[in-house]
Every structure is written in structure tokens, then in C-alpha cells.
Symmetry: C2
Subunit: 565 residues, 2 copies
């Protein structure tokens, strides 16, 4: 907890007393404290990785076996690794043999929940959310929430995604063919969770994909998501038409064994939907969507992810990997929002949701993208209806296309709105969207922007306790507790540095004024005078009564009130 | 037009051919152009000021007379000026004798509109908005729109504020007791209009208020708003209880003569409403509101702005100054949103709106502030109902209080939403809100953020032609016209520099890929393949038909599609 000296990491036990769930505690100058859940994990040495928090829970259920696993191949790390004969920056930390279901029974949180079993993961989540564990179990059983926890990512601190819970934020990281290194990506991961990312997707498409992912998973206390088609494409030299189900399945198993918690699968991009995009302003903008569309066109065959979907479910059920059903045909411009291509795919995603649930596999459904504000609500309404309440996971959406460089903002507008109407997780957008890969600072800006959008939605939804944070900060502001105002801020560092730009002196942090009005006059101070006169606990009636007395007093003094000029 | 080499200022005539309305024309690399209205003005030497564009129009109506005007007093520039015996940085440009109505007949755009007179200002606005001039006249006559144009601000380019027109953005500038100089404020004005501010409010509360305002008005092609109570307070040594109607009236006349186009008047802060704020989390946060509340409490008298409101109307009618009826009791925290204090004041503002209209004085009504997203729509709905459709002018609102340093974003979320539901003008919020005074960069960030929020609302409202801008940019993006994408951006400088961070080479601006996917694979390229195969003008049926043929072809070749594994 290095973001502010007033922050400490505290561990809150569950009722049974055998769990320790981390919270960030903010110590205020008035002696009060404010706790909020924390995604940062216990901190790790990147070379060593995190301790396996969940190992005993997984073992305790007695339904998984370790096995030799797939042998890592040079091509897993791309063509350059093949040329060089080795990956760069090989993982040197502990390697655990992979686990998978011992038999055919699924080892998913959904299967347990449906069987009435309350797992440690569910109890952990209940403490984190401050809710009843039965709410967690029943929502997971119904498919309305997921806890993405691969049995091979024992380092992760369980987290729930569903509309009855706090709105979550995902941060995308990952290299591309033109930029970035493993160390940079691990640093982005750490930066993202420090600022509150609830999950991280590794979208690497460049060098050393396998090894980069190993470093990321071993150091991540939050669920890790991927889009396995990106790596599969690298294995076939970047040529979409060369992809096969076999290459893809092998890549999925590779990633299951590493511990990826959820995977984006573009199984809804059906051959017959592809022509629906021809008249669009921006066609297909999802990388995964266009890979599969390209494959379908090249082969004139149905999307192999769709035709092999049940096999995928069987694999996911053995590791407890959750589907993130990709919206490969999402609109890439507000002009293309809610069109037939998009909605046709959504109907197919609804069908696939039900199929995954037959296998007890957890599912969330991805959504747009670029949507004008008046069409945002319809997106989540249709998704929730058609997909039987499966969690919605949206990218923004951007409410306008005119502001490249500010798309964290154009999309935060759409994101807060769609989350208020029921989206469970928001995929962040950074200022670099459409222009380049995010660097460390962009990751922070993206996370903070999306945390505030998610929180605005929690408040708007009337989520229990959500507004407490706003109230604590507003009270600090009203009482001129500047230090507390900084400490309670989503980004204390920026808040304090902005304040100090105009009033750098130490005593300005305890001053009863700020640079907006200056010391002579302060509206907050006048409000405090009002409160002193009338008391802060006055009901409206009391207040009116108090005023009457004052008026009476005043009239006795011979003055004239309420008289027109 | 220095923001991008592809931008030029073009002048569009009206039908009669006697007006020249400026637009920014973006020249695209494919030979097309894209025009949007421009607030930058013709550019001025700050020491000289702008030419009096409207002088002939005003004179031509034959209903105003120039007169000697009020003598400037040292105290107009504050206590330091009195001490020094002079203001700093006296205005050295031309001084015109002030104008006002020759007789008792109001010289307001509303009076003309109601009399069926179409003014040059209305025609100018119609060209700017690309709408019929009768829409302008009828909306102004009905009070549903205002054109703030003081007869003493002849430098201004007319602009309309109303829900049937494009959503407008105001930028606040102004010094305070602890910071800033005249030159800085003029620079902020220029910066604000360069990036698209539609009006600017000079909220100075520090040194040389009169002179700073003179420099600002003489150099401003956009309407200038003020909160005269700030200056009046300075004249009584910052002691709210020393304020009198006479000091205030004198200050208003001083500002009318300088050419202020609209003034925030906190006439709705009634004595009996003040106690309603005692139980709030953040009491009264409006400076003007707390000054008037402080005065009411000190005197136990009704707000003199309320009791003298008709006199104010008479003054405003002589110069065509518009009311911006201040919401002095707006919430300062989401906890206080839509409470009785706020709504009581709004009812009074509705009453005052009708009273101003009896004098043919133009009115807009100010709104919050801090409002959770689920309560935003109610604010504009009530205001529009109660105030008979008078334009609403809101500050944000912020959708959450937890992110100081990012309040341009927390408020852009509320702003886009409230504007979609009918707010006519948005007052920007900069990243420094709650923490300090905005500097030049903050002004730019605030303006860009609010322009994108306003535009998102225009698109969501289906405003005629609004989405054209989005479509032009999206098309440029889809066709890899990087230079056009930058040129069409709200902030071309930032867009281009972000792109260049990862791909600085000149040829990357014409490359058919970007740093997100790299050169090997590009989703946009695959989409273009789809379009080439199926044509971009295909209707859905045609597309389905095309697909059928392909399928038939394909089946003839003996392949199997749509077959489950």
C-alpha cells in the first residue's frame, strides 16, 4: 500500500475465522477509518511470484489430480523464439504440475453452487462484498454471477462478477509485434492492481506470449483473462486461414494449464453473419471477430469455435475456466451500434450461454464498443433478457467517436450508464485507445477513470453502502480536512499534487480555505455558520420552526421582511 | 486556426448575403472537407481588442443611445487598487461610450423576437446552427432559447442557447485572491475559445476585477458571463453583511456598461430556504449562494436580489443582459442531490423566470452540481416543467464524489446524461475542481472534455447532422487515413502525439496498420476484405442472398457446413 501514507492493508476474517480478506484501510485525521476492498494482493517479488493462497482449498475438495501436462513448445513463444531456439526471460520461479478434474464431474464454482456446496471462494467473496454468502452461492448457481478461478491459478484472491455485486473493472495489458517487454507487462499488471483493477486481460500478440503470460499469472492476485485465438494465430504465422480447431484446442489447454481464469471465445461470429457487416461504417473491429470472419470466408465453413463449442465446455469444466463470450461483431463506430450483425451475434451468444451452463461452466457475455448514449440501455436490456441474466462485460461503450486521445472519457460516459443499467464488469479504455498501446501512465488513467465510472454506477444503483465513500470524502471536504480528502480520493497522489500546485505550503493542508476563493471568503465556512445556528440534525420541520423563531425575534426588532420593494 | 495545418477558417454567408459566419473547415486527404462551427473569432491583438462586428446592427435598429456612463472608481479594481491609487494593467485599447435603450422599450432579442422582428443576430445564429431562422426567432420569443448579446459587447459573434439547438459549453476563468494576472486570464480566454468554448465566465474574485474584465470582453468573440456579487463583495471589503442593494446595483450597471452578456443572479436563495441546508452533508457550496445566505442571516431580511428583482429586470432590458438564475442552494455532494433546499430554490427560479419574461428579459436557469446518475434526469425534467422550458445551464453534474483530480470526468458523465435529456448549456469542470484554480492546460482539458460530452448528447438527441462528425472520423479510421483521423479529432494535437509515441515514423501515418495489432495482422484490413467481397451498399437481404450463393457454391464443392461436431 504505497499510494498514500494513511493507507494500510488490513485483513478481515470471515465468520468461521479461517479466511483473511484484504481491505485498504484509510486512517482519517478525526480518528475515524474508512475501509474498502483491495485488489492489490500481498505484493510479490516478480521473479518468485505469489504464494498459492487457494492451494489448500482446491486440494481439500479432493476432485482434482495433478498430471504431467503439455510440454511447452518453442512455437508457444512465437516465431522469433523458434529462430532463437529459446524464449526470452524464461520463468525461473516455481513450476507446479498442472491440475485438472480427476473425473468427468466439473470442478467449477457453478457446479458446486448448484450442488449447494459453499466453497471457500464463495465465502471469501462474501466478505469482500460485505454480503451474505447465500447471495453469492445462489447467484453463481443461477449463472447470474461468476467467480473466475482456474484451479491452476491458486495465487488468485477470489472475486465475483454479477449485477447484484459491485461493478468490476478489467484492465487490458499485453505486448504487440511492435512494442513492449515482459518486465514492462508485469509492471503494468502491478500498476493496474495497485490502482484497483479487478481483473487483468493479457492481450499479448507479439513476442514470447507464453512466457509473458506465465510471469503475469504467477504474480497476479486478480483473475487473468486472455483471448487464446491471438496466440493460436501466432502459431500459424499470423495467417487466419491456416487456423485449425486442433491448433486452437492445443492453445486453450496450454493456457488452462498455466492458470488463465477466463477466456474470450468468439464463437458467435457465424458464417452467415459476416455479410451483415459489409454495409457498416467500420466493418468488423474486434481482432478476434475479424480473425474468425476471415477464417470463415477463407474456408466457407462455419466458425470452428461454434462447431466445437461443446468440446471447449468440456475442457473449461475440468479447470474451471470461465467463458467470456466475445462480441466479434461489436460496432466500431456509433453509426454501427445495435445493428443486425451485432444483435444476431448476441442471439447466438445467448444460445451458447445455455450450452455452457449445461456443462456447469461459468459464462459472461461481452458487449460493445461504440454506442450513442440513447441506445446504451437497450444493449444491456437485450443482453440480460436473451442471455438469462448472465453477467454482461462491456468495453466502454464510447458515446461519441470524435475524441481520439480522450476515449477513456468518451467511453466512461457510456460505461457508467451501461453499468447503472446492469452491466457487471467494465473493460477499461485508456487515452491511447485507437492510437497506440497504453503505457504505464495510461494504464493508471484507464483504471482510475473506470473505477470512478463503476462507482458512479454502484451509487446510482443504490448498491448497499456504495455512497458511504462519497459521503466520507464530502464530509472531509466540508470540514476542511484536506489530508483526509486526499487520502480518501481514488487517486490521492494526483489530488494532493493538484492542490499543492496553487497552495504548496504545508499549512494550506489544514487551512480553512482553498485557492478557489482565497482566505477572505469561503462558502464552506458560511455553510458551517448556518449549521452552527440551526444545528445539523434538524429535520425540515424543525428547521422551519427554528427559522420562524428567528423571524419572530427579528420582527420584534421592528424590521421588515418578505416585503416587496 | 493554429491547432492543425488541415484546418482553415471559412466564412459562410447567410441567404441575404450580408453576413459572414465563421466555420472551421477540415481539409481531408481524400479531397473531401468537413465544416463545423467555430468560436475562435477572427483573432485579436490583446492590447487592441476585436473589431465591433455588431456595431452597425445595433445602431441600425435605432433604439439605443450612447451616454456618458458611470465613472470608473478605484474600488472597482479592489482594495489594492485603492491603496496603490491605480489599477494594474489599465486597458489601453479603444474606449467606446456605453449604449443603452433610448426609451423604456426593451432592446432585447426576446423583445424583438416577440414582436416578430428577425435580427441580424438571429440570422447569424441560424447560419451557425444550420437551421431555419424562424426556429431561432420562435424559440427566443417563447423563452426556450436565449442569444446573450449585450449592446455594449459589439465584438461578440452571436450564439444561441436552447434545447432545440446544439448543446453549448461554458468555460470558467478568473483570478482569485491568491493567484493569477490579467495577461494569464486573457490567455485562458483565448485558449478556451481556441478549443471550442461557446461562452466564457469571468469569475475573478481577486485583484483588478474591473480591468481584467475589460481586457476579457474587448478580446472575446463569445458571450461573457459574470457573477456580479463577487465584485460587489470586494467593494465591501469581503464582508457579506455589508452588502447593500445600492452597491450591488451600481456593480451591475458597471458591468452592463462594459458589455457583460449574462449575469448569474442568486435571487432564489430565500431567507426561509437557508435552514433547509443545515442538515446537509456539505451545506451551501455555491459562493454566490453562501454570500446571500450569509447576508440573509446577518440581517434577518429577505434576499435583496429577490426583493429588487424587477429593478434588475429593468436594468437588464436596457442593455440586453440575460439572466443566468443562480442555483445558490445546489448540492455540493451526491448525498444532498434533489433535496428540499435545491428544489425549493428551483421553484423560486421558475417564478423569477416568468417575472423576467414580463420585462422581455432573456433567462436561463442554473442547475447542479453533484447528482448520482439515477437522479440526473429528474433535475432537467423538473426544471423544464417548472420553468416553462427556459434553457437549463448545469455545472456537470458530478456523478460521484470520490475522484478529486478527475472531476472533469466524474462530471462529464453527468453532463452528457443531463444534456441528452434537455440541458442547453454545460458549465465545464476542470481536473482542478475542488483542489485549485485551473491553469491554461486545465482550461483546455475542461473544454475538450465538455465538448465531447455535449457532442455525445447532440448525437444521442438525434440532433440533425450531429453524427456526421463521428461518421467522418470513423470512415477515416476505417480507411487508414491517419492524418484525417487526427485532423478531424476534437484535439488533433493530442491524437497525433499519442499515435507518434509508439509509431513515430512519418510513413506510419499512411500505414495500413497501427501499434495495437502491428503490421502482420489487422482487423480493419480483414473488414475491408469482407466489404470487397460483399460490397458496402448491400442491404441485409442482398447480403443474405450473396451468402446463400457462396454457400451453394461451397456445397457443390462437397464441403460440410452447419454440421455439429
Amino acid at each position: 500500500m504505497t499510494v498514500h501514507p494513511a493507507h494500510t492493508r488490513v485483513l478481515r476474517p470471515d465468520e468461521a475465522g479461517d479466511l483473511a480478506v484484504p481491505f485498504t484501510r484509510v486512517a482519517l485525521t478525526n480518528g475515524e477509518t474508512f475501509d474498502r476492498y483491495c485488489t492489490e494482493g500481498p505484493g510479490s517479488d516478480p521473479e518468485v511470484g505469489l504464494p498459492p493462497l487457494r492451494a489448500a482449498w482446491i486440494e481439500g475438495r479432493g476432485d482434482v489430480t495433478s498430471y504431467d501436462g503439455r510440454e511447452t513448445q518453442l512455437l508457444d513463444n512465437g516465431r522469433s523464439a523458434v529462430r532463437r531456439g529459446a524464449a526470452q526471460g524464461e520463468w525461473r520461479g516455481a513450476r507446479r504440475a498442472p491440475l485438472r478434474a480427476s473425473g468427468t464431474a466439473p470442478v467449477t464454482q457453478m457446479a458446486y453452487a448448484r450442488a449447494g456446496i459453499v466453497t471457500e471462494e464463495m465465502r471469501y467473496v462474501a466478505v469482500r462484498e460485505g454480503c451474505d454468502v447465500e447471495l453469492v452461492r445462489s447467484e453463481v448457481a443461477a449463472g447470474r454471477a461468476i467467480i473466475p478461478v482456474n484451479v491452476n491459478h491458486s495465487e488468485s484472491e477470489p472475486m465475483i462478477i454479477g449485477r447484484r455485486f459491485l461493478v468490476k473493472v478489467n484492465a487490458n495489458i499485453g505486448n504487440s509485434a511492435v512494442t513492449s517487454s515482459i518486465a514492462e507487462e508485469v509492471d503494468k499488471l502491478t500498476h493496474a492492481i495497485t490502482w484497483g483493477a479487478d481483473t487483468v486481460m493479457d492481450l499479448s500478440t507479439g513476442e514470447d506470449i507464453h512466457t509473458t503470460r506465465e510471469w503475469i499469472i504467477r504474480n497476479s492476485p486478480v483473475p487473468i483473462g486472455t483471448v487464446p485465438i491471438y496466440q493460436a494465430l501466432e502459431k500459424v504465422n499470423g495467417e487466419a486461414d491456416k487456423l485449425t480447431w486442433e491448433v486452437f484446442r492445443d492453445t486453450v489447454i496450454e493456457q488452462c494449464e498455466q492458470g488463465v481464469d477466463y477466456m474470450t471465445i468468439h464463437a458467435g461470429v457465424l458464417l452467415r453473419y459476416v455479410p451483415l457487416t459489409a454495409g457498416r461504417v467500420t466493418g468488423i473491429v474486434s481482432r478476434g471477430g475479424s480473425i474468425m470472419a476471415g477464417w470463415c470466408l477463407a474456408h466457407h465453413e462455419e466458425n470452428f469455435l461454434y462447431t466445437h463449442f461443446d468440446e471447449l465446455c468440456e475442457i473449461f469444466a475440468r479447470y474451471d475456466v470461465a467463458f467470456s463470450l466475445g462480441d466479434g461483431l461489436r460496432p466500431g463506430a456509433t453509426a454501427d451500434a445495435n445493428d443486425e450483425a451485432q444483435l444476431s451475434e448476441l442471439r447466438t451468444l445467448a444460445e451458447l450461454t445455455s450450452r455452457a451452463w449445461e456443462h456447469d461452466v461459468q459464462v459472461m457475455v461481452e458487449g460493445p464498443g461504440h454506442v450513442p448514449l440513447n441506445l446504451v440501455e437497450e444493449n444491456v436490456r437485450l443482453q440480460q433478457e436473451w442471455c438469462h441474466g448472465a453477467p454482461f462485460y462491456t468495453l466502454g461503450p464510447l458515446a461519441t467517436d470524435i475524441a481520439p486521445g480522450y476515449d477513456h472519457i468518451t467511453s466512461a460516459i457510456g460505461a457508467a450508464t451501461i453499468a447503472m443499467h446492469g452491466t457487471a464488469m467494465l473493460c477499461y479504455v485508456t487515452p491511447k485507445e485507437h492510437l497506440g498501446l497504453p503505457n504505464r501512465d495510461d494504464v493508471k488513467t484507464g483504471v482510475i477513470t473506470y473505477k470512478l465510472a463503476a462507482h458512479a454506477a454502484d451509487v446510482a444503483k443504490g448498491h448497499p453502502g456504495a455512497r458511504d465513500w462519497d459521503d466520507a470524502l464530502s464530509k472531509a471536504r466540508f470540514e476542511f480536512r484536506w489530508r483526509d480528502q486526499f487520502a480518501l480520493s481514488l487517486d490521492p497522489v494526483t489530488a494532493e499534487s493538484f492542490h499543492d500546485e496553487t497552495l504548496p505550503a504545508e499549512n494550506a493542508k489544514t487551512a480553512h480555505f482553498c485557492s478557489m476563493c482565497g482566505p477572505k471568503f469561503c462558502s464552506m465556512r458560511i455553510s458551517q455558520d448556518v449549521r452552527e445556528r440551526f444545528g445539523s440534525d434538524l429535520s425540515t420541520e424543525d428547521a422551519a420552526l427554528g427559522m420562524k423563531e428567528k423571524s419572530a425575534e427579528f420582527l420584534e426588532l421592528g424590521a421588515s421582511v418578505y416585503v416587496e420593494p
